[in-house]
Symmetry: C2
Subunit: 356 residues, 2 copies
């Protein structure tokens, strides 16, 4: 029996991925070894790594200038690795502040150059995405966080700019069709839509490299990872394998545009209930609502604990909101079945009737 898993990440994965991985843990493709026991420089693992990298390019339709890497350390490592590689001491980087994760990225970038925070929605507790901002033309790049897991906002369009565009897409990567080629660097922790914790995907245009003068430690230099086929040192073998299986699954579902339709349906079902159920209220400006993480509260906050308990009995897991936004957060990543959202909505309806 599986629960309805609305965790914000790590979160639900496709059953096919879990069953296949469970078998590979005992015997990987008839090798007499577990996937954990094979050498990372052997042909079977190199094939896994190459399939994962090429599935990213295929599913995101990235052009030839892009290289795809599987690194370690999560988006938090990228917060410092991006400016270390791309922002010179005398340079400027533009960042849009849309919440906790943008803020962390901004903090790390300041160690490497001048950071121009061109817009922020902080004053309204990050309940929307800033629309008006001016990017300094000399900026080395503009950094955005496409989906804000904690506050439940999401960029609905790609900013138009002449400077290279960089995005933390950890919590909405491959959940919707976008022209990913408008970006120069995209990074994402794998543990939401791309697999499990322990791997970070970085897609970077080779033309972005070689522009800073500082000396970069080997393990933090994108160039080294590219030259070594994302195997500069022992990669997180199992996490890459899980990502490869998850991307294969996504391709079998019809790819990004097909999963987007499902994600649209899931989000529509939930937000419709939030908007029509008198007990609940969304916390985010409608036009900027995230289809991955729906944040909402109850008009009577004293009922929230009771609703949480009620949901727990219905095998609904992971809906408590982040302490910074309160209430509830229902995460609906690619692998979350439509049926789980139906169960969630039924729970909201039933609880509301009970209280009427």
């Amino acid at each position: 029996m599986k629960v309805h898993n609305f965790n914000a990440g790590p979160s639900v994965l496709p059953n096919e991925v879990l069953y296949k991985a469970s078998k590979a843990l005992i015997d990987f493709e008839g090798s007499g070894m577990s996937i954990l026991e094979i050498g990372h420089r052997t042909a079977p693992f190199i094939a896994v790594m190459e399939e994962a990298r090429s599935l990213v390019k295929e599913l995101m339709q990235l052009d030839d200038d892009f290289e795809v890497l599987y690194l370690q350390g999560g988006a938090t490592m990228q917060f410092m690795q991006v400016p270390m590689n791309l922002l010179d001491n005398s340079g400027t980087a533009a960042y849009v502040d849309t919440g906790v994760w943008s803020n962390k990225a901004i903090k790390e970038a300041k160690l490497f150059g001048y950071v121009d925070v061109v817009a922020s929605s902080k004053e309204s507790n990050y309940n929307h995405i800033p629309k008006q901002f001016t990017i300094p033309p000399q900026a080395s790049y503009l950094h955005i966080t496409t989906n804000n897991t904690i506050y439940g906002t999401q960029w609905q369009m790609t900013p138009v700019t002449d400077v290279p565009l960089i995005a933390d897409m950890s919590s909405d990567i491959m959940s919707r069709s976008m022209d990913f080629n408008k970006y120069s660097l995209i990074y994402a922790g794998a543990q939401k839509n791309m697999g499990a914790a322990g791997a970070t995907m970085v897609a970077i245009r080779k033309s972005m490299l070689g522009k800073v003068t500082r000396k970069i430690p080997s393990i933090l230099d994108y160039k080294n990872h590219i030259e070594n086929g994302s195997m500069l040192n022992t990669p997180p073998v199992f996490a890459v394998y899980i990502s490869m299986l998850t991307l294969r699954w996504l391709k079998e579902q019809g790819g990004v545009s097909a999963i987007e339709q499902l994600n649209d349906k899931k989000a529509a079902l939930l937000y419709d209930e939030i908007d029509h159920n008198p007990l609940f209220r969304g916390t985010v400006v409608k036009e900027d609502r995230s289809k991955m993480n729906a944040c909402f509260v109850m008009d009577k906050p004293e009922m929230e604990e009771e609703f949480l308990k009620f949901c727990k009995k219905e095998d609904i897991v992971g809906i408590k909101g982040h302490r910074l936004s309160g209430g509830f957060r229902v995460s609906m990543y690619n692998a979350l079945p439509y049926e789980s959202v139906e169960v969630m909505v039924e729970a909201m309806k039933y609880f509301s009737l009970k209280k009427a």
Copy 2:
């Protein structure tokens, strides 16, 4: 059917660990979720992380000044993270060069301060561990690589010094009794004796911190990881879980001193054959031989390919030597059964008789 897995790492793991993990991939402790699907800030995972950290302290008998962290990026990340945290721009660090991995550590340290390579066995192709060296008394630390996977050498004693001692123990951690408290920082990629690829264990004395003036990115600052209970950001959940299971298994075996006895027996059996079989010859000075990785060649190199093929038929895997040392490398980590070494030795005997 399992093969005899002599891979240098990732390598063989205990069957109990693999079976338990395989089940947890489908349902983790009756949660209705896979271990890959649980939130890392939930009680069940915090318990895993804390058990792993405390098992390290218990098995290594570390004193209270030590903090144990599970980080990402492998030993290669530590090559730069150690000097970034502990070597000031104006400071000196002493390194002993015993092979490829020491060299990589030295290269990264040079980005942060002055590096004094106090000894090297490079001129004899790293076939021994240097015994005579002088450590500058003002050095911030002395760094050694306790076991050299590529060349098959191992430090048989801990250097006596007044400066803080730091060791890369990736390939022999917890394989033998040592006074680990003589060290100030110990790091190890988990994928040999402590689990699977994707987690790096760092045991550090708190008293080592706060001595450098440079600004350290958040994710690279040991202090941040300590303050956050090794959960500064999403940890590599599954890799930590596998490490916890592997350490539990080690404890059930009787801990480090018990596994040392088994490792001694395995190494004695193999080296005895190397020394008595006329076809084979060890490449390392006897007193510095590694009990984890035995390196040897054939007097008639043209036979090596044939022997490799013969071994393959016997389900012997992973014995081809690193290109830098040639011949064969037989890795015998904690989880390698004694029986596998018996099979290896039988193959050497049989091949030798066939050729006589």
